[in-house]
């Protein structure tokens, strides 16, 4: 891969012409996101809120994303839309049937109302609690403004119910589809649309599944379990910033929100007793944001991730969690007081060329003077070695050193981006971080759409890209996939890589062996890194692998593979 030469590129761009300018819509345009008067019948572009100290990119004041803007519920009377309620917990048994409806809801965040989507009129969607090895039927009905499907993220079940284009046509507006779920592995999973994820999921279509193991001592004893979904949403004083209707905006870095949500709320709170031990099941459903979660004032132990427990428990001070990943952690509060749960990052200000510390408060925990009734601190204070997981993974050890079966290179191609963006990007990418923790270029990112940006999974063995790739495997294959995230592409970015219907291990990153494994369905591929995954092709069907950043997925970053019987 060679870096392009700016001058040639500029020439091409001038010849090709660039994105549209709509002066008329921009008369009141400024940095704080003020725009047109509110129109309730159609969505109108307005610039997302931006860091005021960053000067506006010269020559960009009149640029708008060259796609149609979309907001939910346009033309509807807001008063007629019901308010969403907090999620219900559905305790399910083998053979049960659940009704699930996606619909338009009203949500109240920090005292303001927004029109969004919800499953069963709830935020997040209902929590499906089911025993391991059970089957549950979901009668799904679509009452949103788009065709949609439901993908059951992480389940190793029948591919016909996976919600992808290989499994079904999208469920049209007003229509229904019956899903049959099988819960093969204990742990925490989640469901979301597999059509226009960057809009539908961002608007609130997500929920958890908690698959409960039969063994009483599968996890450590704790006082309480908390199911926590992390998300963010992009809002200014006028409301939600519109989405691109048929192609995403923010196609380069994904859409970062500026309001953090825990279980769909901005004011997540917990009251715990002194010496209480809690088990958190954490899912990140944001479009692109990786969180670095910190439980201030607590001791934290990592117990599990996507599809299993870790081979060995470890203590940690922070939990970096990428889009679509899950972590299961146990948390002990020993001292009375009030503590925040933080997202704690080193953000980048590319204009100033600096890293700077940044923290978002995700929630607050109050620890009372009252001693917890039953103490589980002893179990917390020892680190368990999970022999069951070790034994399971040991069966795959003979494959750890096998030759690489498949390779992928991750990169991006752009066309027709405005010239100032191209110029700035040249400076911006003199150094690329392993991972983008914040939107370092809100204007440029917003203006880059799925029309101009194509994210690419490249198979060097065949020269094929994205959906032209269709790998064939057989049930029982153990496949070593080597993924290289090219740091020299136009605008490199970390990618949370999701493999449907199977489970995988991260063998090594840049040759550094992983000493403590866990079964995953989504793994971070940092910029510049080479990551070896070992995939257990245990589940026949037609499946996808893709980047889980909603905008990257829509901008091409997916491929198909088939596992034969």
């Amino acid at each position: 891969m060679q870096k392009f030469y700016p001058n040639t590129f500029f020439l091409l761009l001038i010849i090709a012409g660039c994105s549209q300018s709509l002066q008329a819509q921009h008369e009141h345009h400024n940095m704080s996101g003020h725009g047109m008067d509110m129109d309730t019948t159609q969505a109108v572009w307005r610039m997302p809120p931006m860091n005021m100290e960053m000067p506006m990119l010269p020559g960009m004041h009149n640029e708008l994303p060259p796609v149609e803007p979309f907001l939910a519920g346009m033309g509807l009377q807001k008063e007629d839309i019901p308010f969403a309620k907090p999620r219900e917990i559905l305790e399910l048994a083998d053979g049960d049937t659940v009704e699930l409806q996606a619909s338009i809801v009203r949500r109240s965040l920090e005292g303001k109302d927004y029109v969004m989507y919800g499953y069963n009129g709830q935020y997040p969607g209902p929590l499906l609690k089911a025993p391991q090895n059970s089957t549950v039927v979901v009668e799904f009905n679509n009452q949103i403004e788009f065709p949609t499907t439901v993908h059951w993220h992480g389940l190793r079940h029948d591919y016909r119910f996976d919600g992808t284009l290989f499994a079904q046509d999208p469920v049209l507006i007003g229509e229904s589809f019956t899903y049959e779920l099988y819960f093969r592995d204990a742990g925490v999973y989640w469901y979301h649309p597999h059509v226009l994820e960057y809009i539908q999921q961002d608007l609130g279509l997500y929920g958890n599944m908690l698959v409960e193991p039969p063994e009483d001592d599968y996890y450590n004893p704790v006082n309480r379990e908390e199911i926590v979904i992390l998300d963010d949403i992009l809002i200014d004083e006028q409301g939600l910033i519109p989405w691109g209707k048929s192609n995403p905006t923010h196609a380069l870095m994904g859409r970062f929100g500026n309001v953090m949500l825990v279980n769909g709320k901005t004011d997540y709170q917990l009251n715990v007793d002194k010496n209480e031990v809690l088990r958190f099941y954490i899912t990140n459903v944001a479009n692109t944001r990786t969180f670095n979660m910190v439980f201030e004032g607590a001791k934290v132990k990592v117990v599990g991730s996507d599809i299993s427990k870790f081979e060995e428990e470890v203590y940690t001070e922070n939990i970096p969690i990428a889009v679509a990943e899950r972590y299961i952690v146990e948390v002990l509060y020993e001292e009375p007081g009030t503590y925040p749960i933080l997202n704690s990052i080193q953000a980048i200000n590319h204009f100033r060329g600096e890293f700077y510390p940044h923290q978002d408060t995700l929630g607050m925990v109050t620890v009372s003077e009252h001693e917890v009734e039953e103490s589980y601190t002893e179990a917390f204070n020892s680190l368990r070695v999970n022999e069951d997981v070790k034994k399971d993974i040991a069966e795959y050890e003979p494959y750890f050193d096998k030759p690489v079966d498949k390779k992928l290179e991750l990169k991006v191609e752009v066309q027709n981006l405005p010239i100032p963006i191209m110029q700035s990007m040249e400076l911006d990418t003199a150094y690329v971080p392993h991972l983008e923790w914040n939107d370092t270029m809100p204007m440029m990112n917003w203006l880059s759409t799925g029309k101009q940006v194509e994210w690419i999974l490249h198979d060097p063995a065949t020269g094929k890209n994205n959906m032209d790739i269709n790998w064939d495997f057989k049930k029982g294959d153990v496949v070593k996939l080597r993924i290289f995230n090219d740091p020299d592409t136009f605008h490199p970015m970390n990618h949370p890589f999701h493999i449907h219907g199977q489970r995988h291990l991260v063998l090594n990153i840049d040759g550094a062996e992983n000493p403590n494994m866990v079964w995953k369905d989504t793994s971070i591929i940092p910029v510049g890194a080479t990551v070896d995954l070992l995939i257990d092709m245990s589940n026949p069907g037609k499946w996808m692998m893709h980047c889980h950043i909603g905008e990257h997925l829509d901008a091409g970053m997916m491929l198909g593979f088939e596992v034969g019987e």
């Binding site: 910190v294 100033r352 890293f355 510049g528």
Partner: protein, 189 residues
């Protein structure tokens, strides 16, 4: 004091390098090799260690500090404050064993407000350790004896130094589309 001056001018030098190179890169395809085509994997983040030629036997020597993934339960290794945590593998080649003293590797933030000793180089001129900063300078000094592991500052002369790749990141003021924005306004001179 002398040492501090040397280091400060080194930092300035590196900045000047970054400043001098990048605007040029905007205008012409004659990019220096290091910017033109990154190497694969962790190679991309590798820090070139350049001799100061201050120490006899190091005039022809060079080295590198490879930033490696630091294994941890997560797919990315960062600290509580969000800084990247790397394993740093340092190696010097073509250097002669010093007649007296030991080569010791250090890392320091560009502001020199924090200094951490990585350790003394072994017979193969290698040493490794962890770094928890996003932007830093690797310094190899010649010390009379190996300092205490909590040493706050080196005392011998600098033999090699190099800046983490993140040092290439600098203000956009004064460059490309922001050519009209003076760098000084943003604290760069």
């Amino acid at each position: 004091m002398m040492l501090k001056k040397t280091t400060l001018s080194l930092i300035l030098g590196l900045f000047v390098m970054a400043f001098g190179v990048l605007p040029k890169a905007m205008a012409s395809p004659d990019l220096p090799a290091s910017l033109q085509c990154a190497e694969k994997g962790s190679e991309y983040y590798t820090i070139d260690l350049v001799t100061t030629k201050n120490i006899p036997g190091t005039g022809m020597a060079s080295g590198k500090a490879v930033m490696k993934f630091n294994p941890n339960p997560f797919g990315i290794s960062i600290s509580k404050d969000g800084s990247y945590l790397h394993r740093l593998e340092i190696q010097i080649s073509k250097a002669k064993k010093p007649g007296e003293g030991k080569f010791v590797a250090w890392v320091t933030t560009p502001e020199l407000d924090k200094v951490k000793m990585i350790g003394s180089l072994n017979k193969e001129f290698e040493v490794s350790g962890t770094v928890e900063w996003n932007k830093y300078i690797v310094v190899i000094t010649l010390e009379k004896e190996v300092p205490d592991e909590n040493a706050r500052m080196w005392s011998g002369p600098i033999a090699f130094r190099g800046l983490s790749r993140s040092g290439l990141m600098h203000t956009m003021a004064g460059h490309g589309p922001f050519a009209q924005e003076p760098c000084a306004k943003y604290g760069y001179y």
